[in-house]
Symmetry: C2
Subunit: 101 residues, 2 copies
DNA sequence: TATGATGTATCGGTCAACGATATATGGATT
DNA sequence: AATCCATATATCGTTGACCGATACATCATA
């Protein structure tokens, strides 16, 4: 799993969000350094949905425009936790290796 | 930067290694969980060489077979340190977010 | 009036990663 | 003697995530 997908799952970890809300939250989360474009987002959402990691929470219509809210599934949360652990292990490895020269 | 490239730089961080040695070290480093294939390695090495992150250290001939040793450049080390920092930040973010629910 | 924020969506290109395969040698096993 | 495994480098074609650009629509603001 690459960074954008990881960020998307992370943005959904506290509550359901719609697409644009995910983009904003990912930007907010990273302090503005990481920006995900719509081309990345919607492709990733489709893949995550197929994998059963996220699902459609609800669909609202506001001012004639649809807002599709996605939520993390139980399985998606598990995947996110595992991925975080995996990344933590790798970073720990790197830090130890870079420390003692 | 994705995991395989990160692992390759990390494998070269203590001393120069030849291609096959990098594969073994990456496997060792990760406790056997991450395996890099030759198709990934040599493509990545070429890219890293073009970017000036690794360079050819020396070339030995043993039993008629060449062994090409690569070393991390100063710039490559800097990139590795930065990448480690970047990954650490992201993991820290994720852990904090997953902790307080 | 026109710019920017909000909001969803598609399209095509790029490029790292990856599996499979090829070549070659030496040592261990059958 | 033949076969397998480890060593060692390298190429090729495919996949797929990512990404920029673009499109469309509405509303508020300048």
């Amino acid at each position: 799993m690459q960074d954008p997908t990881f960020l998307i799952l992370l943005a959904l970890s506290d509550r359901p969000r719609h697409g644009y809300g995910i983009l904003l939250e990912a930007k907010e989360l990273s302090g503005g350094t990481i920006r995900i474009g719509p081309g990345t987002l919607y492709g990733a959402l489709e893949r995550l949905e197929d994998a059963g990691h996220v699902e459609l929470d609800r669909e609202e219509i506001e001012d004639g425009r649809p807002r599709r809210y996605y939520r993390l599934t139980r399985r998606g949360r598990g995947v996110l936790v595992e991925e975080t652990q995996r990344r933590e292990n790798l970073v720990g490895l790197a830090k130890r290796r870079l420390a003692h020269r």
